[in-house]
């Protein structure tokens, strides 16, 4: 037995010029993520059809629901373009829905193949009557139905009801590659997820300051990376040993500038890694004013340590909203584990809020951290969380 999935692609439908390239990316991503599962994937205008063996259908649905560039997925029935067969399939859909407790329905039909003898309205009426004949307890409600049976007449007829939402957006990799600063807190995983859904392939970087930060804190970041890898389709995590840099900053800096100096050093290290892996941008979980280091003035200074655009998808988002997304993508419970994140080693009581740009930039240079930062990146460990691993740890 096989299961057929009807896949509705996301924004690639809007991008006229690059449509083919985006479709290719989406196919590539689906193919990569279904490694080890036998499948066939066909592309038609505005739709992909994926067939897998029934035993793989649950896992496949999970994969598709977490693949950016997909708007929605539905298990569909494929029939000949024959009104009787179509009606039988519609009844089959209704049966599945009744089992979940539905009472009202409507039918929506789309006829791309205009040679089909019935128009959309007629298809709805005929199929609707078949369903009602089979299940007299159901009733039609065109405004607020419990379920909708959709019928699409294309090269074949496709009939489906419940559609599972995908992450929408663009296929991963269609916007190049970015490097995500992953701290272990609530925000950065959300930022990573959001940019993955905007088509950015990601590698992530974590600054580890042992013994100030614990092995448990690193494991927490690894769990977060493994979780985000579900959307990115696997992900590298760079673990950069940052203790020497933290110590150098702590021994020489003015108390109130320590956090800022650290952020600048991190940005510089991220920039080095970004160039090494051909990333086109750096992604952070910063949100304007959320903490002292996230004022516009402080961000200007940290940004000065890279020539790449720093993408901050959370910049205008309220903490409560960020938490809501973190809960939805199931990173929240990991993020709130009580291990210190990489920035808590210094927590000056009164961190600087409105630094003088030139003065502080000069001050950072005077710390002469370049060699230390270069060597920290050299000593980095690069771990890969592949998609199969992510699947194993994230599906029940």
């Amino acid at each position: 037995m096989h299961t057929l999935f009807l896949i509705k692609p996301g924004e690639i439908e809007l991008k006229l010029g690059n449509k083919r390239e985006f479709a290719r990316r989406l196919k590539e991503q689906i193919t990569k993520r279904l490694k080890g599962i036998p499948f066939t994937l066909e592309e038609y205008p505005g739709r992909f059809f994926l067939t897998v063996e029934e035993k793989d259908s649950e896992l496949t649905l999970f994969v598709l629901q977490h693949c950016p560039g997909i708007n929605g997925v539905a298990k569909a029935i494929k029939t000949k373009k024959d009104i009787d067969e179509i009606c039988l399939a519609a009844v089959e859909c209704a049966k599945t829905e009744i089992l979940t407790g539905a009472h009202t329905f409507k039918i929506e039909a789309r006829r791309s193949d205009k040679s089909f003898p019935f128009d959309s309205y007629r298809i709805c009426v005929i199929a609707g009557n078949s369903v009602l004949a089979e299940y007299p307890t159901l009733s039609v409600d065109v405004h607020n139905p419990d379920f909708i049976i959709r019928i699409e007449i294309r090269e074949r007829a496709y009939i489906y009801s419940s559609t599972a939402a995908g992450p929408r957006g663009l296929p991963v990799g269609s916007q190049g590659k970015g490097i995500l600063l992953l701290s272990g807190g609530i925000d950065s995983p959300v930022a990573g997820y959001m940019m993955a859904c905007r088509g950015l392939a990601l590698e992530s970087v974590y600054f580890h300051s042992y013994p100030y930060t614990s092995p448990e804190a690193q494991q927490k970041v690894e769990r977060l990376a493994a979780r985000i890898a579900i959307w990115t389709g696997g992900m590298h995590l760079w673990i950069v040993p940052f203790t020497d840099i933290q110590l150098a900053i702590s021994k020489t800096s003015y108390e109130e500038t320590k956090t800022l100096m650290l952020r600048m050093a991190m940005m510089q290290a991220a920039d080095i890694i970004a160039h090494r892996i051909n990333a086109n941008s750096i992604v952070t979980g910063e949100s304007l004013g959320q903490v002292a280091s996230q004022t516009a003035e402080n961000m200007r200074l940290s940004q000065s340590k890279t020539s790449l655009p720093v993408l901050r998808p959370l910049i205008g988002i309220d903490k409560e909203e960020i938490i809501a997304i973190a809960r939805q993508i199931e990173t929240y419970e990991i993020s709130i584990l009580p291990y210190e994140d990489c920035c808590v080693v210094f927590s000056p009581k009164h961190p600087i809020l409105k630094p003088d740009y030139e003065e502080l930039k000069g001050y950072f240079e005077s710390l002469a951290l370049n060699n230390l930062i270069e060597s920290a990146v050299m000593k980095s460990e690069r771990k890969y969380f592949d998609f199969a691993y992510a699947l194993k740890t994230n599906t029940k």
């Binding site: 013994p211 933290q246 702590s250 009580p338 210190e340 080693v345």
Partner: protein, 393 residues
């Protein structure tokens, strides 16, 4: 690199002779003490002998002693015993009240917190800046509806010894004066066992809890002494006077009894040794710039057991120091190992002693035992000074 173990308050290395004897004994005597056949009877006899050996080693002459699965469980039995009264009082719309010190182990504090949510009123007594409770202060909180008072004998973080005798006498005075029913006095003596004589507790307390693994016995075995049986909460097969139902852990009980015996016999020598180690630690830490002993104390201060000492390295988180020392194969801990898993409870004891937050944050606990040597202490002092200089921010 030699392992240096300075975390004896968390647990102690097993005594290999005792463990071997207990294993050999258990391989032979595998019967269920409740069985009526000869194997059961043998097991029953061995269990009662173990009980007698523990009581005798501690110096208990009256009351009863039951084996439990841990010191924590032994602490819970007298606390759970008030549940039925709490229910009755709640349905009659009357309060019932408990008094505990604010420096109790999580076994008491966290369990009392649960009962507090069920309506128990609780007074928490803060210690002075040295970590000692004032007996009159404890007694002054007694009300008509006070049913239980829990006071630990030796604090697991600071080593501070509470004067249970004075507290008990103050309680009696207040109770007699006000003609009230005497509340149950439970003493957590888990850290006291093996470090000082607790034989007098039978004259002052209604119950006290001990644990085998703090005196080189196996983990998973504790005990509760009581003058008269508390109300039974956990029901089952009626084992251990009904207070700890479930097939008895004869291996643990037997090993506990041997460990208690050995601890009693070697106590004078161990105490003397602990005092020498204490002096070396206090002198050594005091000579490291900025480092300090908390609370401030001099060697041989009889308000503290010499084998447990807290200290702080301002400007360096205690956890960081523990990790750094661990890399040098030196084992110490931040406060209580049992509290390291509970975020909100961290540094609760030091906070109650009004230790400033940044000092408490930078604290570690060092605890010694019979196998600790002066060389161990010197290596520790040397490393801790180097690490402090290197990692201080």
């Amino acid at each position: 690199m030699k392992d240096i173990y300075l975390d004896w308050a968390a647990t102690t290395p097993l005594d290999s002779d005792i463990m071997r004897s207990a294993l050999e004994f258990s391989l032979r005597a595998y019967g269920n003490p409740s069985s009526k056949h000869w194997l059961g009877k043998e097991a029953r006899q061995a269990l009662e002998e173990s009980r007698a050996r523990v009581m005798h080693s501690i110096g208990i002459t009256k009351g009863n002693f039951v084996f439990t699965s841990s010191g924590t469980e032994a602490d819970h039995i007298p606390i759970f015993a008030i549940l039925e009264r709490l229910r009755r009082a709640s349905s009659a719309g009357k309060p019932i009240h408990a008094i505990i010190s604010s420096i109790e182990h999580s076994a008491i504090e966290e369990q009392i917190r649960v009962l507090e949510r069920l309506g128990l009123q609780v007074s928490r007594i803060d210690p002075d800046s040295k970590g000692h409770l004032e007996a009159e202060h404890v007694a002054s909180k007694i009300r008509n509806e006070t049913v239980i008072i829990c006071i630990m004998n030796v604090n697991n973080e600071t080593g501070a010894i509470q004067d249970i005798k004075a507290i008990s006498e103050s309680i009696r005075e207040v109770v007699q004066l006000k003609r009230m029913k005497k509340p149950w006095l439970h003493v957590d003596a888990v850290q006291a066992l093996g470090k000082l004589s607790i034989r007098d507790l039978e004259n002052y307390a209604d119950s006290f809890a001990v644990s085998a693994h703090k005196i080189r016995g196996p983990k998973g075995t504790g005990g509760l002494w009581f003058a008269r049986p508390p109300e039974i909460f956990i029901r089952g097969g009626g084992q251990e006077s009904g207070l700890k139902p479930g097939t008895e852990n004869l291996f643990g009980a037997f090993a506990f009894s041997l460990a208690a015996e050995k601890a009693a016999l070697s106590m004078p020598a161990n105490q003397e040794k602990a005092l020498i180690l204490e002096e070396r630690i206090i002198d050594g830490i005091s000579s490291i710039p900025n480092a300090l002993i908390i609370p401030e104390r001099i060697p041989k201060d009889n308000g503290f057991v010499p084998s447990i000492i807290s200290m702080a390295f301002p400007g360096l988180g205690g956890e960081t120091m523990v990790r750094a020392l661990s890399d040098c194969h030196i084992a110490v801990s931040t406060g209580s190992a049992c509290m390291s898993n509970i975020h909100h409870a961290e540094r609760r004891v030091l906070k109650a002693m009004q230790v400033p937050e940044d000092i408490a944050f930078s604290s570690i606990r060092v605890s010694t035992g019979p196998l600790t040597t002066l060389q161990d202490i010197d290596s520790f002092l040397e490393q801790v000074e180097v690490l402090y200089r290197k990692l201080k921010t």
